[in-house]
């Protein structure tokens, strides 16, 4: 009871401190609003506005049809270029895709000679190259098939593959990156706010003060965890309902309260990591560098940016124990796929246990280092 009251009042103090730092408050608001919107507008996950050049050496009806078949929003309208410029324009990155339609293409197609048409792809355009190559192939194939069928050849395939995308039928980027943006923010903020709150008390000498009062390190650490987690949970909740759901009109399939439960459990983990890092770093610049080395990999390798399936096996095994990976996984399950508690409870449990582990580690080091550097 006494302990609860101590933790409560210390948490209130944390909140008061946080709301006094206007620059920090502004940065938090920015990262949960404008930054989310900017990411949602990026269209980074889908094929969008891909730049395309066409070398048309055929000048036939079919070649013109193919050129016109590339449409926004997937591709920008195709620009005619000369063959001798292809290398330079692809070198400087002007075009990611260049289609080369050889002379007599239409004639050869109609004659059944199966002429070759080349699609050159800039393989260094990481996300677009693969998806775009597939799209380009399909578009050209459809156009050629359509053209041929008009000229009296039947090309109905015997077996049709009907591909449907569940949970995000139009594969809209903003559905994905807006929520992942919130998740990334939660990780970054929770670690830095909780960690900096500890280092700041040490640099300002108020830590000494607390440690000579009848207040235990556990209570101090818990107050940092609770106070900072409360701020971030509220920011994340507001961002999800106001920015993501209303402003960006992203449909949410599952239960927001269930997701928020998960956020709170995850925040327990992330703030505990912050407190733990603060017991390793002696000064703010050191905390900053340490933070970069922990928070950015946690985020980048959590499956919120690139698929986990793309990592080499050893790294995949390592990130499988990262609570951030679980966070991303249950967030996707709840928000996109409408999963319930029965599906995600194991993830919740794992994240909670990792949080407890880091809090214990932090406490172990806490008292011995709490007064260093002052």
């Amino acid at each position: 009871m006494r302990s609860l009251s101590t933790i409560f009042w210390l948490s209130v103090k944390e909140l008061r401190s946080f709301f006094r730092d206007w620059v920090l408050l502004g940065l938090v608001i920015y990262s949960f609003s404008l930054a989310i919107i900017a990411q949602a507008q990026s269209n980074a996950q889908e094929l969008h506005n891909a730049s395309l050049g066409v070398v048309d050496e055929d000048h036939s009806e079919l070649s013109r049809r193919i050129t016109r078949a590339f449409l926004p929003p997937y591709f920008k309208s195709a620009e005619p270029i000369a063959e001798r410029d292809v290398d330079h324009l692809m070198n400087i990155g002007r075009y990611t895709f260049v289609i080369d339609i050889p002379p007599n293409f239409e004639r050869d197609v109609l004659a059944g000679r199966r002429p070759a048409l080349q699609v050159a792809v800039d393989a260094t355009a990481m996300m677009q190259a693969g998806i775009g190559a597939g799209y380009a192939q399909e578009i050209i194939a459809d156009e050629v098939a359509d053209f041929v069928s008009r000229h009296g050849f039947a090309t109905v395939p015997a077996v049709n593959l009907a591909v449907r995308i569940a949970f995000n039928p139009n594969v809209t980027t903003s559905w994905f990156v807006s929520v992942m943006g919130i998740i990334n923010n939660v990780t970054m903020l929770a670690i830095i706010l909780a960690g900096a709150a500890v280092v700041r008390e040490r640099e300002h000498g108020t830590m000494d003060h607390l440690l000579v009062m009848p207040v235990s390190p556990f209570e101090i650490a818990m107050a940092k965890v609770l106070g900072n987690a409360a701020v971030i949970a509220i920011a994340a909740g507001l961002s999800l309902t106001l920015v993501v759901r209303h402003l960006l009109a992203v449909p949410i399939a599952g239960s927001i309260p269930l997701f928020m439960c998960g956020v709170v459990i995850y925040l327990f983990f992330a703030t505990s990591v912050g407190v733990f890092l603060a017991t390793i770093a002696r000064t703010m610049p050191q905390l900053g560098l340490l933070y970069m080395l922990v928070a950015i990999p946690l985020n980048m390798l959590s499956g919120s940016n690139t698929p986990l399936e793309s990592m080499p096996a050893f790294l995949r095994t390592i990130v499988q124990v990262s609570p951030t990976t679980y966070f991303v996984s249950f967030a996707q399950a709840i928000l996109y796929r409408g999963a319930g508690f029965d599906v995600v409870w194991t993830n919740f449990l794992e994240v909670g246990l990792m949080g407890a582990l880091f809090l214990a580690l932090g406490l172990l080091r806490y008292r011995s280092v709490a007064t260093q550097g002052s």
Binding site: S5, T6, W9, R16, R20, D21, A38, Q39, Q41, A44, Q45, E46, N49, N91, R114, Q118, V119, V121, A123, T124, A129, I131, A133, A136, Q137, F153, A154, T155, A158, V159, L161, V163, I165, A166, F167, N168, V171, T172, T173, F176, M188, I192, G205, T206, D208, H209, V212, M213, P214, S216, P285, G288, L289, P297, M300, L301, S310, P312, L315, R337
Partner: protein, 913 residues
């Protein structure tokens, strides 16, 4: 006295305010030249503000300041007289760099004032000899005692032979011997440079006796000016301190009376604190060396000594904050135990560093502490009302602690320390920096606690008149107790006139610390003093290099930061180089084969053989399918309808259904691409094997996809060069931003305001080491790309090197711009992180070409330097390009350098507000 040739400074109608608080309320003053002028008055009356304005460190808000014959609001005049003024800000060695040695600090200032190497050498030898610092030339400033630090600060101020020397409380917190030596030093310097004017603010009234001319200030206004004798005779008092009090307006005087100390009530020798041979070592440095004492109940026991002599460490050991290396201590008869909550309830502690939450109000601070000590709510309420009344905090209850004048703050600190009615108070320099009247008021409270409530008080101080008020004192120096007795006892033992003299006597005896000064050198120097080498040109390479050299030294002295900075990029490069790829493999897939014929198995075997997919247990039914997609157990499913084989054989059209988990759009698109191309492959195979009789399913044209630059489409060849660009954007920007904000937070930015260094020199000088560091990062990552990742460089190395060089200049400049908006390290850290990580990873073309971005993302991408370096890095590595193709990108990148530098320049304040 020298002939007077007009005032050295003239202030007309000078007003200055901070927010709602008035610091100076219309000051009119002429400060005579060639004299030693003292500014006296309580804390927070505007002394520091006035000196800051005269030195040109602060921006003038209202009124006029003329110094050395010109207007200080005029930039050109300020630039011109800057080299003739020296300013030593308040706080021990605040303008010094703690990681630099004595010699390096002096050298740095010498460079700022444009001295050549020989000249610097001559002057620093001369100054170190004159101040007795020569023996410690290679010791870092942070390891100097307070007195030595102030002497070093003075050396740095005097390196350029100023005409006007401005000292803001130079001796606060310094032991009496060092203080005496400091003033002797100033006298010698004045003898050497006859025309030099000195303006000093001081909290020690007794020091004011030695000045030529005094300015007594109170509440932002001037009470009186004149020589010490004139002031004393005007007020009809014996001492300056008494004269000052007499000069105060009546309403302020009314509460003040000479402090009376009633005799102590004896509590028959009940020991509250007993220490035996208490020792604390930090590495090979002994901070506290076998200290023993025994403090009785109700006693006021004083620890007296300079800053850094071990007072704080001893107190921390008593509170359990630091474990003792040797020896033992008991509180209330029990051994000190860090986890003993009960003894903590009986102790009140006031640490030296201001131990309140500055972001809370007075009432919130009291309230928080009452809660933490678990006072019952009703009792707490009454207690807080009582404390507010008794400690005179009534007018301030809703003010933030940060906005309180120092004297009031200390009262609040004490109120907070006694909120739970402790039996023992441990106070670490509670009155440091507090003016005499506030000190007296504070002591009245202490005496009341001790004499009327039986509270034991253990207090440390460096004020001799405070030491004299204690029942007993220990004189401390360099971790050892020199003597313990009543103040009178100590004076009698040494047969001196005052306690201060007795202390000095003890100090000199203990380590023979008589001032080691080579008088001959000092006098010699006077004869050979060259005219000051003033260089107030707009840009000086030497001044820029002064900052570059200093920053480099500091970086080298912080091995942890250096190791993180170098190893950190390599670490991130390693895991991202392997971890962030777009080669999606081993996607989980499950099948629902409702036909289960040769034909259906043949279709599925096409997928089963692929390295892209990893098959999971077959699906039972459509409910199972949904369940597993929802839980993320599978990313795709294929359902083959019943009768598939039969229909296929009969040539009837059939449809296979595929579901893909769309929660991650990129992955969904990739899976879709894989499935579609495998399906096409199946159809082609079918046609070739002639299963369908005619070749009609084969496409009438062959669409060949050729991946350029990287035939196998391995993303590592794009990712590794991208990582190089990404890492060079993150850590250099953050280090740069922190380096600048750190100067703001620690106060050494004052040197930018008061020395001839210009903003451009400051910014460029600080940038040079970080650009060099980033180039080292580049070299490490370049080698990693070649030998760890096996990504060869196909294009021009020279192009890459040049691009990287321009790029790191731009990214450090970017960090510098962000630093301009923030004043705390934490905000700088967080701000730089979110302002670099997001655009770098999402909007600079690493994953998606910038030309495909829309909206805000596109704008943010265009204005981020990485957007233009990425094509250079990827181009030279993987596309095999050189200057011909990449010169446009290089030019765009180069445009960031002047733009960001200019922005940083505009945003950096030339003076304090």
């Amino acid at each position: 006295m020298d002939a007077m040739d007009g005032p050295v400074a003239r202030l007309v109608g000078l007003r200055h305010r901070y927010g709602a608080g008035v610091a100076l309320a219309g000051i009119n003053l002429e400060i005579p030249s060639g004299r030693m002028v003292g500014l006296i008055g309580p804390d927070g009356v505007g002394k520091s503000t006035l000196l800051g304005l005269v030195a040109g460190a602060k921006q003038i808000q209202d009124g006029a300041v003329e110094v050395l014959g010109g207007d200080m609001a005029d930039v050109r005049h300020r630039q011109a007289v800057c080299p003739r003024i020296a300013f030593m800000p308040q706080g021990l060695g605040k303008n010094l760099y703690p990681d630099l040695s004595v010699r390096e600090n002096i050298d740095f200032f010498g460079r700022l004032f444009g001295h050549s190497r020989r000249e610097r050498q001559r002057r620093s030898v001369e100054l170190m000899a004159a101040t007795g610092l020569a023996a410690f030339a290679d010791r870092p400033a942070k390891k100097l005692s307070g007195g030595m630090r102030q002497k070093l600060s003075l050396c740095c101020s005097l390196i350029h032979d100023p005409d006007l020397l401005i000292l803001d409380e130079p001796t606060t917190g310094v032991d009496p011997l060092s203080r005496r030596q400091f003033w002797e030093l100033i006298d010698r310097m004045r003898a050497r440079r006859k025309g030099m004017s000195v303006v000093v603010a001081t909290a020690y009234m007794e020091e004011a006796e030695r000045f030529d001319w005094l300015v007594a200030m109170n509440a932002g206004a001037i009470l009186a000016t004149g020589s010490p004798e004139a002031l004393k005779s005007k007020a009809g008092t014996e001492t300056i301190e008494a004269a000052f009090v007499a000069l105060l307006p009546d309403e302020m005087k009314s509460g003040h009376k000479a402090l009376q100390i009633p005799p102590r009530t004896k509590y028959d020798h009940e020991s509250v604190i007993v220490a035996h041979d208490l020792t604390r070592r930090f590495g090979d440095f002994t901070a506290v060396d076998h200290v023993s004492f025994d403090i009785q109940r109700g006693e006021i026991f004083g620890f007296v000594g300079s800053n850094g002599c071990g007072k704080t460490t001893t107190m921390k050991m008593l509170t359990g904050l630091l474990p003792a290396s040797e020896g033992s201590a008991t509180l209330f008869g029990r051994a000190v135990d860090a986890n003993d909550m009960r003894s903590r309830m009986r102790v009140g502690y006031m640490s030296q560093s201001f131990s309140l939450y500055s972001e809370l109000t007075v009432r919130q601070n009291l309230d928080l502490h009452a809660r933490l000590f678990h006072l019952p709510a009703a009792d707490a309420k009454q207690r807080i009302i009582d404390l507010i009344a008794r400690f005179g905090l009534k007018g301030h209850v809703d003010q933030l602690a940060a906005d309180l004048p120092l004297g009031i703050r200390q009262r609040l600190s004490l109120a907070v320390a006694v909120v739970h009615r402790p039996d023992l108070l441990i106070l670490d320099e509670p009155t440091s920096g507090v003016d005499p009247m506030a000190r007296d008021a504070f002591w009245e409270l202490l005496i009341d606690l001790s004499r009327n409530q039986g509270v034991t008080i253990f207090v440390s101080t460096h004020f001799m008149n405070e030491a004299a008020r204690c029942d007993r004192i220990s004189l401390m120096d360099a971790g050892r107790v020199l003597a313990t007795d009543t103040p009178d006892g100590l004076v009698r033992a040494r047969k001196t006139a005052t306690l201060e003299d007795a202390f000095i006597d003890f100090l000199e005896e203990s380590d023979g610390r008589a001032l080691v000064v080579d008088e001959a050198v000092g006098l010699d120097a006077a004869n050979s003093a060259a005219p000051p080498a003033v260089n107030s040109s707009l840009f000086s390479t030497r001044r820029m290099l002064a900052y570059a050299i200093r920053e480099t030294l500091e970086l080298l002295r912080d091995p942890i930061r250096l190791a993180f900075a170098l190893g950190g990029t390599a670490f991130l490069m390693l895991i991202f180089g392997f971890g962030i790829t777009t080669d999606v493999n081993s996607l989980t897939i499950a099948f629902l084969d409702r036909d289960n014929t040769f034909e259906s198995r043949a279709y599925l075997s096409e997928l089963r053989g692929s390295r892209y997919f990893a098959e999971e247990a077959p699906l039972r039914d459509q409910r199972d399918e949904l369940q597993r997609l929802r839980g993320g157990k599978v990313t795709a499913t294929i359902e083959i309808p019943p009768g598939f084989g039969r229909d296929l054989r009969r040539g009837r059209p059939v449809e296979i259904a595929a579901w893909i988990d769309g929660s991650m759009p990129f992955r969904a698109e990739t899976i879709r691409g894989y499935l579609v191309s495998m399906h096409q492959q199946y159809l082609d195979d079918l046609a070739i094997r002639g299963h369908l009789g005619d070749g009609s399913t084969a496409l009438p044209a062959d669409v060949a996809v050729r991946f350029r630059y990287n035939q196998n489409f391995d993303s590592i060849y794009a990712m590794v060069p991208s990582q190089l660009a990404l890492q060079l954007a993150l850590i250099p920007a953050i280090l740069m931003a922190l380096a600048i904000v750190r100067e703001k937070e620690l106060g050494s930015i004052i040197n930018l305001y008061v020395t001839p260094v210009t903003r451009l020199e400051f910014l460029l000088g600080k940038q040079i080491p970080y650009v060099a560091l980033a180039m080292l990062n580049f070299a490490i990552m370049f080698l990693m790309a070649l030998f760890v990742f096996d990504v060869p460089l196909k294009g021009s190395f020279l192009m890459l090197l040049l691009g990287a060089f321009v790029y790191v200049i731009a990214t450090t400049a970017y960090g510098r711009v962000i630093s301009a908006f923030t004043s705390t390290q934490i905000a700088a850290l967080f701000g730089t992180t979110i302002m670099t990580v997001l655009p770098a990873t999402m909007f600079a073309g690493m994953m998606v070409p910038v030309s495909s971005l829309t909206g805000l993302a596109a704008v943010m991408g265009r204005f981020f330097p990485m957007t233009y370096f990425l094509p250079i890095s990827v181009g030279t590595f993987t596309k095999g390009l050189g200057f011909a193709d990449l010169s446009m990108h290089l030019l765009s990148l180069a445009a960031f350098v002047p733009a960001l530098t200019l922005l940083g320049l505009v945003l950096l304040r030339p003076q304090e507000k």
